[in-house]
C-alpha cells in the first residue's frame, strides 16, 4: 500500500503545482476586475449580419481609434433578432445592434432597445419615410441608414418599353414567350409557400390592405385587412395571373431562382430590389428600372418600404458610448456612403443619397419606385401575417379558390394576434 500513499502525496504535489499555474492565470481576470471601475478603456460591441459586419468594421474601428475605445463588430449569421433578444435578456448582449425596422415592435415589447434622442436638425437630415419607419408609439427607436423596396427590373434588349399596367406586362411577356425569346412571362418569386413581400404591390393594386391605420397614422392591429372583401377582390385579380390563368405567376419561381432566371435571359421582367442589380451587371444584361405596374383601372401598386437601422441596446454594458456612436457618428454621411458601397441600397441620409446618386442612376429609380410605397408595419402583429399570407398567395396562384383561401388565412392571422 505504500505505493498508494506515494500516489496521494504526488497528487497533492501536482495539484499545488497546477494551482500555482492556475492562480497566475486567475490573476488576470482579477486584475481586469479591479481595472473596470478604473475605466481605463471602454468597449463597444456591435452585432449585425454578415454583410453589414464587413462594411461596418473599418468605420467602427476608426471610431474606436479616434476616441480611445475598443470597438468590436460581431456577426450573427442566423436569427440575429431572436438571439439579440435572448442575449440581452440574460445580460450578454451587445451595446448596439443593426437590423431592419420591422423588428422594432418585438424589440420594444421585450425591453431590448431604448429610444434614441435625435436633435431636430439631425432628424431633418433623413428622408422622411425612413424616420417614419423607425418611429414606434411616438418614439424614435433607431437611426436609419438605408431604405429598400422592390421595383420592376426589365431586360431592355427584350422589352424596351416599361409596361404601364400588369396587363401590358403580361401581353409583352406572352409575345416574347411565343417568339421563343423568353420562357417565362414574369419573374416574381413565390415558391411553394408564397412570398408576401414580393407580391405586396399587386395586392395593394388590387385594393387589399394589411392593417388599417389609427387616427395618428400608426398601424392598427385590430383592423386586419386580410380576409376582408377588399383582400378577396385583390386575390381574385392575382388568381387570374396564376398557373390556371395567364401563367405569369408560378410557384416554381422561387427566391433562389428568380434572379438567376432573369440574368440568364429566360424572362424579361423581374420584380426585385437593389440587391439584384449586382448580378444583372455581372451578367451583362442591359436593364432599366421602373415602378411595379398595377392592374389596369386598379389602385396604385405600392411596394413595401423597409429601412435598415442602428439600435441602442437597453441592457448594453456601455450605453453612453453606444448612444454616442449611434446618434453622433452614424448620422454622418461618410458612414452611410461606405455602407452603400458595401451594398447598393439607397442611403436614408439625404446628404449621402445626393452624394452617390450622381454616380448611380439606378438609385434614384429605385427610390422613385418606392416613393409611394408603404412602410413595412413594425407592430408585433406583423409577425403573424407573413406565413399564412404567403401560403394563401401560393395556394391561389396554384388555382385554389381565392375567397375560401384568403378567408381561412385571415382567420388564422386573427387567431395569432393577441
Amino acid at each position: 500500500m505504500r505505493i498508494r500513499t506515494a500516489g496521494v502525496v504526488a497528487v497533492l504535489g501536482l495539484a499545488l503545482a497546477a494551482s500555482g499555474c492556475g492562480s497566475s492565470d486567475s490573476d488576470k481576470p482579477a486584475a481586469q476586475e479591479s481595472a473596470k471601475p478604473a475605466g481605463a478603456t471602454g468597449k463597444l460591441v456591435i452585432w449585425a449580419d454578415d454583410k453589414r459586419t464587413a462594411a461596418l468594421k473599418p468605420f467602427a474601428e476608426q471610431f474606436g481609434k479616434d476616441n480611445g475605445v475598443t470597438v468590436e463588430v460581431q456577426a450573427v449569421s442566423k436569427d440575429l433578432q431572436t438571439n439579440f433578444v435572448t442575449a440581452s435578456q440574460q445580460g450578454s448582449g451587445p451595446d448596439v445592434v443593426v437590423g431592419a425596422h420591422d423588428w422594432i415592435g418585438n424589440l420594444v415589447q421585450n425591453g431590448a432597445i431604448d429610444p434614441v434622442q435625435l436633435a431636430a436638425e439631425q432628424k431633418s437630415g433623413f428622408n422622411e419615410t425612413a424616420i417614419k419607419a423607425v418611429t414606434f408609439n411616438g418614439q424614435v427607436y433607431g437611426v436609419p441608414y438605408a431604405t429598400e423596396n422592390v421595383a420592376l427590373i426589365r431586360n431592355t434588349a427584350l422589352a424596351p418599353e416599361a409596361p404601364k399596367t400588369i396587363e401590358d406586362l403580361v401581353a409583352a411577356g406572352k409575345k416574347l414567350k411565343a417568339d421563343k425569346k423568353a420562357s417565362e412571362i414574369l419573374c416574381l418569386q413565390s415558391g411553394q409557400n408564397g412570398d408576401a413581400y414580393h407580391v405586396y404591390p399587386l395586392y395593394t393594386s388590387g385594393g387589399g390592405y394589411l392593417f388599417g391605420t389609427t387616427a395618428n397614422g400608426d398601424y392598427d392591429p385590430k383592423d386586419l385587412g386580410v380576409g376582408k372583401p377588399e383582400s378577396i377582390a385583390a386575390f381574385q385579380k392575382i388568381a387570374k395571373l396564376g398557373e390556371k390563368g395567364e401563367g405569369a405567376l408560378k410557384r416554381s419561381i422561387t427566391g433562389e431562382n428568380s434572379i438567376a432566371t432573369f440574368t440568364s435571359k429566360k424572362c424579361a421582367f423581374l420584380v426585385s430590389g437593389p440587391w439584384a442589380i449586382a448580378d444583372a451587371k455581372k451578367a451583362n444584361i442591359s436593364y432599366d428600372i421602373s415602378p411595379v405596374p398595377g392592374f389596369a383601372g386598379g389602385k396604385e401598386a405600392q411596394p413595401f418600404v423597409g429601412v435598415q437601422a442602428f439600435y441602442v441596446a437597453a441592457k448594453g454594458k456601455n450605453k453612453a458610448l453606444a448612444q454616442e456612436f449611434v446618434t453622433n457618428y452614424v448620422t454622418k454621411p461618410e458612414l452611410a456612403v461606405a455602407l452603400y458601397q458595401a451594398e447598393p441600397r439607397p442611403p436614408a441620409l439625404t446628404a449621402a443619397f445626393d452624394q452617390v446618386k450622381g454616380t448611380d442612376p439606378d438609385l434614384a429609380k429605385f427610390s422613385e419606385a418606392g416613393k409611394n410605397g408603404q412602410v413595412l408595419p413594425a407592430i408585433p402583429a406583423m409577425a403573424a401575417i407573413w406565413d399564412p399570407f404567403g401560403k394563401a398567395e401560393a395556394a391561389i396562384i396554384g388555382g385554389a379558390d381565392p375567397a375560401k383561401t384568403i378567408t381561412a388565412a385571415g382567420k388564422t392571422i386573427a387567431g395569432q394576434i393577441k
Binding site: D49, D50, K51, K57, E72, A75, Q90, S92, E256, N257
Partner: protein, 299 residues
C-alpha cells in the same frame, strides 16, 4: 459473399465462364458501387458547377458547369476570414471528436461489460435526452454561459474552449449507444481470461478492448468529426467574432443575407469543407478496414 475460400480457384478453360463467374463474385459489386456513387455524387456536381460559375447561382437545370472560373474561390480567401474558420473548425472538431469518443468509449465499456443498478435506465436516459428539441435549449445555454463568461472569460462566449465544453455535453449521445453495441459483440472470454491473468479493469479496457473495437472507434471518430464540423445551431449563438467562427457558421453567413446571397462563394467553401473530412476518412480508413479478425488473433 461468404465464398472467399474458393475465390482463388480459376477456371482457365472457358474465359466466358470465368467472366460470368467474375461478375457473379466481384463484378456486380462494382456495378452496385458505381450506381451508389452516382447517386451520392450527382447533387454535389450541382454544388461544383455553382462554385465554378462566376454568377454563383444555385439554380439551373444544367448539371455540368456552364462556366469555369476560380473567382469564387479567390473571393473566399480575400474577402472572408475563411482561413480562420477553417483552422478553428479543424482544431475544434479534432479535439472535440477525440475527447468525445474517449468519453463515449469509457461509458460504453461500463454499459456493456458491467452490471450495476440503473444501467438500463441510464442507457434509456441517454437516448431520451437527445430527443428534446435543441432550438428550445438555446435560452438555457445563454443562461449558463452568461454567468460562465462573467466568471471565467477564458471558457466563455466566443472562445473555442467554451464551445468544446458544450459539445462534450453531447459526448454520451448516439455514439455511446453505437459503441456499446460493438462491445456487446466481443466475446466475453477475451476480457475474462485477461482478468484471470491479473490485468486490472483499466488494462482490460485500454490494452484489450480498445484495440479490438478500433474499427468502430474510427467510424464513430469520423462521425463525431463530421458532426462537429457541421454543427450549426449552437455555434451560431456561441461564436459571434468573425475570426472565432467555425466553417459552418461562417459559411452560413455567406448565404444568410436577407434577400440576396452569395451562393457561389458558399458552394466553393462547401467543397473545401469536405476536404478535411475526406482526409480524416483516409487517415482512419485502415483502422476501419483492418477489422476485428487481425486483432482477435493477436489478442
Amino acid at each position: 459473399m461468404t465464398t472467399y475460400a474458393d475465390a482463388p480457384v480459376a477456371n482457365r478453360n472457358a474465359t466466358g465462364k470465368a467472366r460470368s463467374r467474375w461478375f457473379a463474385q466481384v463484378g456486380w459489386r462494382h456495378l452496385v458501387g458505381v450506381l451508389a456513387v452516382a447517386f451520392s455524387v450527382f447533387p454535389i456536381l450541382f454544388v461544383l458547377s455553382a462554385a465554378l460559375n462566376p454568377l454563383g447561382t444555385l439554380s439551373s437545370t444544367e448539371l455540368l458547369p456552364t462556366g469555369a472560373s476560380v473567382e469564387n474561390f479567390t473571393n473566399l480567401f480575400s474577402r472572408t476570414a475563411f482561413v480562420h474558420w477553417f483552422l478553428n473548425s479543424l482544431l475544434l472538431a479534432g479535439v472535440a471528436s477525440f475527447v468525445s469518443i474517449f468519453l463515449s468509449a469509457l461509458a460504453a465499456y461500463a454499459f456493456s461489460r458491467m452490471r450495476f443498478v440503473g444501467r438500463r435506465v441510464g442507457l434509456l436516459t441517454l437516448l431520451l435526452i437527445q430527443m428534446f428539441p435543441q432550438f428550445l435549449a438555446i435560452v438555457a445555454i445563454f443562461l449558463i454561459f452568461t454567468t460562465v463568461t462573467d466568471l471565467w472569460p477564458a471558457i466563455g462566449f466566443n472562445t473555442p474552449w467554451g464551445l468544446f465544453l458544450l459539445y462534450m455535453g453531447g459526448a454520451l449521445g448516439a455514439n455511446t449507444w453505437l459503441m456499446k453495441g460493438f462491445f456487446d459483440t466481443l466475446p466475453k472470454e477475451l476480457d475474462e481470461s485477461a482478468t484471470m491473468d491479473g490485468a486490472t479493469h483499466a488494462q482490460v479496457f485500454f490494452r484489450i478492448m480498445l484495440p479490438l473495437v478500433a474499427p468502430i472507434l474510427a467510424v464513430t471518430g469520423l462521425l463525431a468529426f463530421i458532426g462537429s464540423i457541421n454543427e450549426f445551431i449552437i455555434a451560431n449563438v456561441f461564436l459571434t467574432n468573425t475570426e472565432s467562427k467555425t466553417l459552418a457558421v461562417g459559411m452560413f453567413g455567406l448565404v444568410a443575407g436577407e434577400r440576396n446571397n452569395n451562393f457561389g462563394m458558399f458552394a466553393a467553401g462547401t467543397l473545401l469543407t469536405a476536404i478535411p473530412t475526406v482526409l480524416v476518412f483516409q487517415l482512419l480508413q485502415r483502422y476501419i478496414v483492418s477489422g476485428l479478425t487481425a486483432g482477435a488473433v493477436k489478442g
